[in-house]
Symmetry: C5
Subunit: 276 residues, 5 copies
Amino acid sequence: MVEIYGQEVPQTLEGWYLLHDVYAVNWSRWRAEEPATREEIANQTARWLTSAAGYEKGDSAAYSVLTQKGDLMFLHYRESPDELNYLELSLRQTRLYEFLIPSFSFLSVIEINMYELATLARMKLADQDIIPGSVEYDSAFETEMAKQKSRVQSRLFGDIPEQRYICFYPMNKRRGVKLNWYTLSVAERHDIMRSQGRIIRKYQEQVAEVVSGAIGLDAWEYAVSLYSDDVLTIKRMLYELHFDPAIAVYTNFGPTYVGIRYQPGQLTDLLVGKLK
Amino acid sequence: MVEIYGQEVPQTLEGWYLLHDVYAVNWSRWRAEEPATREEIANQTARWLTSAAGYEKGDSAAYSVLTQKGDLMFLHYRESPDELNYLELSLRQTRLYEFLIPSFSFLSVIEINMYELATLARMKLADQDIIPGSVEYDSAFETEMAKQKSRVQSRLFGDIPEQRYICFYPMNKRRGVKLNWYTLSVAERHDIMRSQGRIIRKYQEQVAEVVSGAIGLDAWEYAVSLYSDDVLTIKRMLYELHFDPAIAVYTNFGPTYVGIRYQPGQLTDLLVGKLK
Amino acid sequence: MVEIYGQEVPQTLEGWYLLHDVYAVNWSRWRAEEPATREEIANQTARWLTSAAGYEKGDSAAYSVLTQKGDLMFLHYRESPDELNYLELSLRQTRLYEFLIPSFSFLSVIEINMYELATLARMKLADQDIIPGSVEYDSAFETEMAKQKSRVQSRLFGDIPEQRYICFYPMNKRRGVKLNWYTLSVAERHDIMRSQGRIIRKYQEQVAEVVSGAIGLDAWEYAVSLYSDDVLTIKRMLYELHFDPAIAVYTNFGPTYVGIRYQPGQLTDLLVGKLK
Amino acid sequence: MVEIYGQEVPQTLEGWYLLHDVYAVNWSRWRAEEPATREEIANQTARWLTSAAGYEKGDSAAYSVLTQKGDLMFLHYRESPDELNYLELSLRQTRLYEFLIPSFSFLSVIEINMYELATLARMKLADQDIIPGSVEYDSAFETEMAKQKSRVQSRLFGDIPEQRYICFYPMNKRRGVKLNWYTLSVAERHDIMRSQGRIIRKYQEQVAEVVSGAIGLDAWEYAVSLYSDDVLTIKRMLYELHFDPAIAVYTNFGPTYVGIRYQPGQLTDLLVGKLK
Amino acid sequence: MVEIYGQEVPQTLEGWYLLHDVYAVNWSRWRAEEPATREEIANQTARWLTSAAGYEKGDSAAYSVLTQKGDLMFLHYRESPDELNYLELSLRQTRLYEFLIPSFSFLSVIEINMYELATLARMKLADQDIIPGSVEYDSAFETEMAKQKSRVQSRLFGDIPEQRYICFYPMNKRRGVKLNWYTLSVAERHDIMRSQGRIIRKYQEQVAEVVSGAIGLDAWEYAVSLYSDDVLTIKRMLYELHFDPAIAVYTNFGPTYVGIRYQPGQLTDLLVGKLK
C-alpha cells in the first residue's frame, strides 16, 4: 500500500499471469519424419492447444513468428505461475517438443496502475461538489474506486485479443543518473503517462494493448503486447509513441517479436506444409 | 496524422515489406551428399528463387555473403508480412533448408518521410506566389503533395536494385540524456536530415539507397540497404556520412552485411562448387 | 577489520556458501528412454537430493523453473566451496546428468553486514546511559555485539526457507562517475540501506529474504533470494523497492529466476510426466 | 572528395582488401580420422594455402592462434571482395573444412589517410619557398602528391609482413556525447593522429603496422594488424599508445587475436601432431 | 622507455607468460566410456600435467572450477607464447580432449610496474644523503635499481603459488569521459596505486597476488590471480579493495573464476569419480 494524495491504495491491480513462449522448429529433423507421423504429431499439438485455449480460467493461442527469431509462439493467460508451469511441462511431454528449439520466453502478469483508476475516481468526485478530505469524500471515493475496479476486471481477466497480428516487446524504465523514472515524483510520472495515454487511446479502435509487469518475474520490468489486424497501424502508433517523452526519454526496449495468429487447426496445416 | 507547418499529414509513406534473411551453409553435411543429389537440391532452390523473384507484387534476390557472418542472404520485397511469412515457410520446406543454419534476419518496411515530400511541395508553391494559409494555398498544396506521392511510388514499390554488391545494416537513432533524436523539434530533425541528404545525393548515380523502418517490427528502428557495382564507393560514401551530424551524433549502427549478387542459375554453381 | 564510529569490526559476518544451479532438461533425449529407465533415473536423482538435503551442515532443495531460462534449479547451502564442488561433481556422476543442459549457476556466501549489528548494539547502549568512549562503553559494546552475533546465527546458518516460490537474482552496486556506491561515506550508505530495510521489514512475514555476497566468487557482487508462498507479494515488494533510492539509484539487476519448490518425491513425478 | 586547406583530395587511398579468418579445429572429429587420411587432408590444405599465397595480386598466410578464441587464422590480401569470396568458397570445398568451426572473421581494406600524405607534401613545399595559393604552388603540390602516392604503393599493395607473430584487433573511434571523433575539426584530428604517429614510428623497426578501414564492410570501423618477431615489443608499444590521447580518449577496442605464423608445410605438421 | 622523475626506465618488467585455460567436461560422453578406458585416459592426462608441471622454465597446475562456468582449469607459466601454444596443441592431442568443451581462456604476461621499483630505489637513496641530479646520484640509482630488479626476479619467474584456492579475473582500467585512468598524470596514478597497495600488503601473508598484463594479448588489459588457503579471506580482501579508489573508480571487472587445486594424481580420482 502506498499513499496517493492522502489515500492509501495498492499500487497496481494484477490479472492473469502471462507466458510468451517462442520456439524455432528443427525443420530438417521434422521433415525426416514420415508424412503420416508428422500429421499425427501436428494433430496432437493442435489438440493440446485447443484444450489449453478452452481452459476456463485463462486463454491460450499460437502465432507464426516472422524472421529467424522463432517459428512458433505460444501465448498463455493463466491465474497462477503454477498453471503456467504445468503448461510448460505438458508441452514438453508432447511429441512435437522433440522438434522445438527454445528461443525466447517471458513471464509477466497483467497489471493496471492504481493511479490511473484513482485519477478517474477523483475526476468523478470533482463533478459532485464533495469537499476533499471530508468523511463523505473518503466514503464516496471508496465507492467510486470499487466501481472503477469492477470496470477493469475484463482488462485484467479477459481473453487473448483475437486480432490477426501480435507485436510483443519487453521494456525497462530508464534508471540513469540524470533521468531516472524511479526517482520522479508521483505527479511527474502521472503527467508523463497521461501524454502517452492520449496516443494509445487514439489508436484503441485498431490496436488492443495489454501491459504486463515483470519486476521479480523476468529479465525486464514490463512487457507490452499489441494486437491488431493491420501491422502498419502498430508501426505508426509506436512511431508516434517514440516521440512521446515517456518513450523517448524513459523507456529502453527489448527485442520485438511479430507473429501471425494461427488457429489450432491451421497449426497442423503449417507444420505439415499445406501452405496458404 | 501529425501537424507540419499547419497541415496534417501522415508521418511516413510505406511501401514493400522487406525481409533480409541470412544463412550459413553446413558445408560438411552438404558435401557428404552425392554430387547428383546436391545438383538436384541446388536446382530446386534455384527454381524456388526464380519463382519468388518472378512474383508480380514484389521481388526476391540472393547474395553470397562475405565473412563468417553468413554464406547466403535471401532478400524479399513483398506487400504484407503474410507474404514474407509464406516465403519463410516455403524455404523451410525445400530440401536445401536441411543444410542451412539461421544466422541473421531483419523485418522492415520501405518508408519515405512525409517531411521530405511536404518540403518539396512547399518549395514548388513558393515559386508560384500563392499566399500561405489561404484556401488557394491549401488546395494547391494538396495537388502538389499528390504529385509528389505519385512520383515516389517507384521508390516505395520498386524492384530490388540490380547492382552487384549489397551493404546492409540496421540502425537506431540515439536516445541519450543530452542527445536524443526523439526530443528534437521537427525543424531540427529536418535540418539534420537535409545535410545527410546532400551527401547521399552526391553518390546517387553510383549507390542506390533503400531506407526501411522497423519500429514495432524488429530489434532496430531502421535498416539501410546500399546497392552498388563498386564496394569502395559505398565505403567512401559511408565514411563521409560518418562525419555528418545525423550519423556522427544521432546514429548507432548494427552489424554490417556485405553480399555479392548471384542469379538463381549461379546459385546452383555456387552450391555445387563450380567456382568462378 | 575496518573502523566504524571508533570501533574496529570485521565488515561482514559470513554463513553458508550458496550454489544456485539451474539446468534445462534435454526432453527429447530423456523421453527417448524407456519409462522404466526414466523412473529408475528419476528415483536415483530423488535419492541424491534427499541425501543432500539431509546433510547435517547445510541444506539442499529443488525447484521447477519457469520460462525457458531453465527447467530445474538445485539450491545448496554448505559450509565450504569444497562441499559445493563435491555436490557439483556428484550430480555429474548421476545418470540424470546425461539429460541436463547447464543454464545458469551462481556461487555466493550468506552475509550480514556488521554495520547493521553495530547500529543495533549502539542503540541498546544509548538506552543505558553509558558514556560513549569510556572503557565501560567499549566493554558493554563488545558484550552487546556478541549477543547480536549470536542472534543472527540462524540467519547465517539456517535451512533453506520452505516457502513454495523462490525469486532469485544477482545484482551489482552502481559504480558510475557521479553515482558510485563505493565512494559514498559509511554514513551515507547506512542511511540508504536503512530506508531499504523499512520496506523489507514491512513484507517480512510474507517474504523471507536471504542476501549473499559474491565479490571474488562470481560475476556479480551480490545475490538475493526471496522465498514466499505468494509470487504477487514478491512482485509488489520489489516494485516498492524499485522506488527506494538504494535500488532506484544504486542497484543494477542481473537475470531473475522464478521457481516452484518440488520435494524429492515430486521430482520423480515431474521427470516421468505424472503432472499435477 | 573533401577539401583540405584549399585542395580537394580523396579522403583515403585504398589498397588490398583484407580477410582475417579464424577457425577452431574440431579436434575429436579430426583425431577420429586415420593418420593417413589426416596427412592427406593436411597436405591438401597446405597445397591450397601455397597456391593462395603464390597468387600474383595479393598474398595469403596462416597462423596458429593462441587461446581458445581459435586454432587457425588464415589471412588474405586481395584486390576485390570477389577474390576474397572466392577464397572463402574454395576453403569450404577443401576436406579440412569439415573439421573447422568458424570463430571470427573480419573484412577490411588497407587504407592510408590522405591528410598524412598532403601534410608531407606541404612540408616539402615549405622548404622550397613557393608562395601558398599561387598557381605555381598548386602545380608543385600536385607533383609532390603524385610522388607521395607512388611512395605508398608498397604499403597499399604489399605482401603480408613475414614476422613470426601477428596481433590483430578491430576498433572504433569514440562517438560519445562530449568526446566524438567525428565532430572534431580536421585540424584537431590531425594533431591527435600526429602524436600517435610518433609512438608508432619509434617502434617501426620492430613492429610493422597495417591499418585497414571497415566502414560499410564489417562490424567495426577499423582493423589494426601488428607484425613482429617479439610479442613483448608489441605489448610495450600498445601499452605506450594506451596513454596517447588518440587511443586513451578516442578509441574503443574489439577482441585481440595473437597468432604464430606457420608456413604451409608446417601447417601439415601442426595438424597431424608432429609438434615442435 | 619513458621518463620518470628524470630517469628513463622501461615501463614494466615482464616475467612468465600465463595461460589460464578453462574447460567444461562433456560428462555424458565421458561416462559412456568403459571404466578402464576412463582410468587410462585420466592417467594419460595426469602424466601430461605432471610433465608440464615439471618443465624447468615455468610451471603448470590444474584446478576444479566451481559453478557451471567450467569444470577444469589448467594454468601454465612459460617463457614464450610459443611454449604456451605448444601446450595448447599437446593438450589437443590427448585423448581427454575429446571430452573437453572450451569455456574460457586468457593470455597474459606477469608484470611489475617500474614506478614501484623506482620509488623504492629513490626512498633508499633519500636515506643516504646523495644529492638528486648529481652524477653520484644517477650511478647510485642505477645500482639500487639493479638490486630491486634482482629482488623481484622470483615474482616474475616464480612457480605457481601452492595455495588450495585460486580466484582469477581479468580487468580493464576505466577509460571514461570524466574518469580516464590513461589521461591521469604519473603522480596521480602512483598515488592511487599506493593506496591499493596498502590493502594488498595487509593480506599478503594469507593471499598471494599475481598481476599480469594483457594489452595486445587478449580481450582485457590486465588479469589478477589470487591464491589462498581461505576463500573468505580473498572475498574480504576484494571487498575492502572495492572501496579503494583504484578499484571503486578506475576498475572494470571481467568474469571471476574460483578453483580448487588438484594434484595430477587427484585429477585421475576426480575424472573417474572417486570422490572425496
